[in-house]
């Protein structure tokens, strides 16, 4: 029973990791570049929302909307500055280093916005539910639903819309997509905006269940998102969702077994194991065998 309870807690929390990893994976899949400033963009988005909340007051819905909008806007700013100028050139390292620099800038702006280290991030108060002796926090169930809706929306957009078709085409073969009339500059903006919405949703879910935000959230979410993405398989969206859930699951169990101070060590240990046994991540191998283009670009 304890095992079930821990697994459930882990998977509920893992749904937020899945959103983080999806944002990373989307950017990597389409631009073939790692965005190191991703976590900091989410931090700044949340910091803006908290700042607005402290000055004029927002309800939970308002806080959510401001968080995801601000995160998307900051993400677009990062894209214009670090990624857009290098599209179509061999600027893989240039983009990554530029995003590292922007990471520092965004962290600094966030600290200026929220001068004391800890600020309240009001959550949604819902009582817990008990099913078959399993306790579920109400807000975490809500989080799971929000994550499911966001993930389904992303997959629907990619599968069923004209723009999704174009995004998949650009991820597959950017040069040819250009040939078929794709506006590469617009694809970059929309990709980063979608990643911002996903990441902003994730930030809201995580911060509202923590109840507070600190400037460390930027680095923390970059690492969690990257680890979840690598576990699942770099560039694979289904893999990102699985990786996120798996990370939540593993963290809950290692915390339960060894205590919170060993949580990250155990998680990284498992990541190393996965990377040794399946270097492309859990879902990444089949993907990479056929994806010659991605191979050349890494």
């Amino acid at each position: 029973m304890e095992f079930l309870q821990t697994s459930l807690d882990g998977i509920l929390f893992g749904s937020a990791y899945a959103l983080l990893a999806l944002g990373f994976s989307l950017i990597f899949g389409i631009m073939k570049r790692i965005n190191l400033a991703y976590g900091s963009s989410l931090l700044l988005g949340s910091a803006i929302a908290v700042w607005v909340n402290e000055h004029i007051g927002l309800g939970p819905l308002g806080l959510f909307l401001v968080t995801i909008t601000a995160a998307a806007l900051v993400n677009i700013y990062v894209e214009r500055l670090c990624f857009c100028p290098h599209v179509g050139k061999t600027g893989v390292t240039a983009s990554m280093i530029a995003s590292f620099a922007i990471w520092m800038q965004l962290d600094e702006i966030s600290s200026q916005l929220l001068p004391q280290r800890t600020h309240e991030f009001p959550g949604i108060e819902i009582g817990s539910v008990e099913i078959f002796n399993l306790y579920l926090r109400g807000d975490q169930i809500l989080n799971l639903w929000i994550a499911i809706i966001a993930i389904s929306a992303l997959f629907l957009i990619l599968r069923c819309t004209r723009f999704g078709l174009l995004l998949r085409a650009s991820a597959d073969n950017p040069e040819t997509a250009k040939l078929l009339g794709a506006n590469v500059s617009r694809i970059g903006i929309v990709t980063f905006a979608i990643a911002g919405f996903l990441g902003g949703t994730s930030a809201f879910l995580i911060l509202s269940s923590d109840g507070h935000v600190t400037p460390l959230f930027g680095l923390w979410s970059t690492i969690k998102g990257l680890v979840a993405m690598m576990l699942g398989g770099v560039g694979s969206l289904v893999g990102a969702v699985l990786g996120g859930l798996l990370l939540g699951f593993l963290e809950a169990h290692t915390t339960n077994l060894f205590g919170a101070e060993y949580r990250d060590i155990s998680t990284f240990g498992i990541l190393f194991l996965v990377l040794i046994l399946r270097p492309g991540g859990l879902m990444g191998v089949a993907h990479y065998r056929t994806d010659r283009l991605a191979h050349e670009r890494i």
Binding site: R168, A169, T176, L179, L180, A182, N183, H287, T290
Partner: protein
Amino acid sequence: MALPQTQVGATDMLSVSNLTTSYGLIKALNDVSLVAKEGQVTCILGPNGAGKTTLMFTLAGILKPVSGSVQFDGIEIAGLGAPKVLQSGLSLVPENRLVFPLMSVRDNLMAGAYLRHRSKRIEVENDLEKMYERFPVLKQREEQNAGTLSGGEQQMLALARALMSRPKMLLLDEPSVGLAPKIVDEIFAIITQVKSEGMSIVLVEQNAIKALQVADHFYFLDQGRVSFNGNPNELENEDVIRRAYLGQ
């Protein structure tokens, strides 16, 4: 440089004058002028590095020319960029096919009609059925990833994808490259069929003998310049090839 003389009768669909394209300091195309007529196959021949693919990319709007003009169907398209060039009715089938390997055959074809999706949804669906009629093998492989098709099937897919944009003129860059002789014959049969339906085609080929069989007019490109041009009927194929590759 004066525009070259071509047959009378058909109207000029594409006329290129004094086109120059550079990669940095190197001029890949140097003052190229040529004309492609409506309903005809105009063939561009030349050895490796002559600038054939550069010419195709410049016409399709991928590369920006340094100078010169490209008139297509009455409008100036030089330097407009790929989306606008495609919208004006000029569609490129790139060298080595370049299909989307991880997308289904159907999605590849739909991506070809990307610019028409919003306004003409039903028309696009109809065109898709027409492509399946013309290339039954694509219908069979509809849900398969394009990367799993054979070279010849990928070439058909690339051709069908280009036709999905309902072009007025097709630019074919080396459709026979890397294919077995029997498949090459099939591809050229399709080119002849597309031409007989009234499509104007600019064809780049290394396989000069095959290309001259379908061409109405040819240009020979050497080191970024048009070295000579003519009508395949006026010259023996062997003469063309001798003049072209041996410089006689």
